[in-house]
């Protein structure tokens, strides 16, 4: 008899742009799911931080986004597909310190230009596709190795 393939779980969440009161709730849900799945705490921490940075980016810059969490026994994939202004120059946006966030976002402690660079540092793989005037898709893959 063939061994059962490990279950591949998929969850989808919605994030609204400019909704600062609930910003972080999706990352919190993702975090709790990973805890229930028994993922290594170090991997949960990296994944949570990167998901939260991505979620804040949507709230700050985009109109809305769907966030998809996919897990199997080896990897965790988070895909954030937003409708928004898009990123004209991804390489420039990746630079630590580069930011287009308005002043009121900076007063909340965000918009320092560390988000994408921190996501890059936390994730084992980061892919960004963006079309100006349509939106941005960020895909992050985390190896569940602890």
């Amino acid at each position: 008899m063939l061994e059962d393939a490990p279950p591949r779980l998929t969850y989808t969440f919605h994030v609204e742009g400019q909704d600062f009161a609930t910003a972080g709730e999706v990352s919190s849900k993702i975090r709790r799911i990973l805890q229930q799945l028994g993922v290594h705490p170090d991997t949960i921490r990296r994944t949570s931080v990167a998901a939260y940075e991505a979620e804040m980016n949507v709230v700050i810059h985009a109109y809305r986004a769907d966030v998809t969490l996919e897990t199997d026994d080896r990897t965790i994939t988070i895909t954030v597909k937003d409708e928004g202004p898009g990123i004209p120059d991804i390489e420039q946006a990746m630079q630590p310190g580069f930011s287009t966030a308005p002043e009121e976002i900076r007063e909340m402690g965000f918009g320092a230009g560390m988000g994408l660079a921190n996501m890059d540092r936390c994730a084992d793989r980061l892919e960004i596709e963006s079309v100006v005037g349509q939106g941005t898709t960020v895909r992050m893959v985390f190896n569940n190795t602890g």
Binding site: G111, M114, A117, R121
Partner: protein
């Protein structure tokens, strides 16, 4: 503030502060931190025996997310609910709001829900940090190099420079 009058368990330990990046931690209970900072507990059912290994201070959550070690207490002058969310993602042990500034009820409720103790201290940020540092609690945020950022930043700076020269 000198440390001569502090109880023995709160005095600095030799070797707690090192500049070579190899931080030797000196765990401290939340109740000791609250006592040192003359801080009030804002959350119900806070576990004051919880130990922290490091302390960090910033009003910039972007930096906290990028540089903070696990097992840390965060001191901040920012009252936004995002401070509590940031603490959740990083497994921070507690938050101390400085200069007597209190977060709103929603922020306290969220922290209680996630079992994160919140404190408010009358000390300004610099003094509050100084008191904990002097008592032997090492820094949490570290430098970019400590967190492997120098490589990333150098790469990006080089690529940016190359792009600019083309």
């Amino acid at each position: 503030m000198g440390t001569g009058g502090l109880p023995a368990e709160l005095r600095p330990q030799a070797g707690a502060f090192r500049t070579d990046g190899a931080v030797q931690s000196h765990p401290m209970r939340l109740k000791e931190i609250a006592k040192l900072l003359d801080a009030e507990v804002l959350t119900r059912n806070a576990d004051l025996d919880r130990e922290v290994e490091y302390a960090g201070a910033s009003d910039l959550m972007s930096d906290v997310l990028a540089f903070t070690r696990p097992g840390s207490v965060l001191l901040t002058g920012l009252q936004s609910i995002q401070v509590v969310r940031t603490a959740e993602m990083l497994d921070l042990k507690a938050i101390v709001f400085v200069r007597g500034k209190r977060p709103d009820a929603n922020t306290v409720a969220l922290a209680e829900e996630m079992g994160l103790p919140l404190f408010v201290s009358r000390y300004p940020l610099y003094e509050a940090c100084g008191i904990l540092y002097e008592a032997g609690l090492p820094g949490s945020l570290g430098t970019a190099e400590d967190h492997g950022w120098d490589h990333l930043m150098n790469n990006r700076a080089v690529r940016a420079a190359e792009g600019a020269l083309e």
